[in-house]
């Protein structure tokens, strides 16, 4: 997995034509208790082009399995749904936020600490890649759940 990620990082400049139209704002990872196996990445993606950007895959250097999930109320229960892809609309934004869409880090491969950096590679529908860094954030001390996006 690490080699794949490295390869992706090296290849990035050559494939950045499409990804160059995208910007990331406020990418962060939730600090979880050390015993926890999973966490989530949140961010806002901004598409500056006139065409929708579809993101079809994600990998990180912090978990064995990664994917796009959304939370939905269903029959009075919070149900987590896997989604195959997300679309950042033309001249618009797409946000991963607590309680909404998140990038799941399933099976953390290393213990995360506050301010650690997680490398995230998004695969776009055209095969291009968009890499970004998300910083681990401790949400306990009055940062508030909604503070992440402000």
């Amino acid at each position: 997995m690490k080699w794949v990620l490295l390869a992706l990082l090296i290849l990035l400049p050559a494939q950045a034509a499409y990804a160059a139209d995208m910007m990331v704002k406020d990418a962060w990872v939730r600090l979880m208790p050390p015993v926890a196996q999973n966490s989530a990445v949140y961010m806002t993606l901004k598409n500056m082009s006139d065409a929708d950007i579809r993101i079809v895959d994600v990998s990180t250097d912090a978990a064995s399995s990664n994917g796009f999930h959304t939370m939905r109320m269903q029959d009075g229960k919070m149900v987590m749904h896997h989604v195959d892809s997300v679309i950042v609309p033309a001249q618009g934004e797409f946000s991963f936020v607590p309680g909404g869409f998140h990038i799941m880090l399933a099976g953390l491969s290393r213990e995360l600490h506050e301010k650690d950096v997680v490398n995230v590679v998004l695969t776009l529908a055209d095969g291009g890649h968009f890499t970004l860094q998300a910083v681990v954030r401790d949400m306990r001390m009055g940062h508030g759940q909604h503070g992440g996006m402000h």
């Binding site: 196996q37 009075g76 949400m139």
Partner: protein, 197 residues
């Protein structure tokens, strides 16, 4: 009857009335609990990292209760974060009279020892507990919690569907209010205060 006795009797009568009125006022300030909540909840005995732990062990404390599981990456840590913020916002003077309980509905992966560490990460006053499926099923019915474990749990990263209520339980162990992980912690703290008196 001499004058001084009458005077003392009068003072005593005034004092007793004043205490009575004060108690009545304090009682009046307790919010009305919706009828639906009055039929929910009830005591339980589950397992914590330091042995059996029941709701009755929280008598005298105003307690926030949440049902979830530790593999939950989003809603559960959000809810626990809100609980911690609300407990802190409820005030320094109430710090030792507020508590939290995180009940895992996923005993296959969440052991009492693991839950103890998980809950303490958020706040030492939050206790993590779990039990057998039979115990959890009974509590879920009584607390109107809905949860669903996958039939096939061979993939160790399965997700659990669950209700997202944060219950406010008063010092007598009764459910008096209901929130969720999206509720503003300041609002929960405001609703906790009358029950802390």
């Amino acid at each position: 009857m001499n004058k001084s006795v009458v005077k003392y009797l009068l003072i005593a009568a005034v004092l007793i009335s004043a205490i009575g009125i004060s108690l009545w006022l304090v009682q009046m300030q307790k919010p009305v609990v919706p009828a639906a909540l009055q039929t929910m909840g009830g005591d339980f005995q589950l397992e914590s990292d330091s042995g059996p732990l029941g709701l009755s062990d929280f008598r005298g404390k105003t307690t926030l209760v949440f049902f979830g599981y530790t593999h939950c990456p989003d809603v559960c840590p959000m809810a626990l974060g809100v609980m911690v913020d609300a407990m802190r916002l409820a005030g320094e003077s109430a710090a030792d009279r507020v508590a939290g309980i995180f009940i895992s509905v996923d005993p296959q992966r969440d052991t009492p020892a693991l839950l103890g560490q998980y809950a303490a990460f958020f706040d030492k006053r939050i206790k993590g507990v779990t039990g057998t499926h039979a115990q959890l099923g009974k509590i879920a019915r009584e607390w109107r919690v809905d949860y669903h474990l996958p039939e096939d749990s061979s993939d160790n990263n399965y997700a659990v569907e669950h209700s997202n209520f944060i219950y406010l339980v008063n010092q007598d162990g009764k459910i008096v209010d209901l929130f969720d992980e999206e509720t503003d912690a300041a609002l929960i703290a405001d609703r906790m205060r009358p029950w802390l008196r």
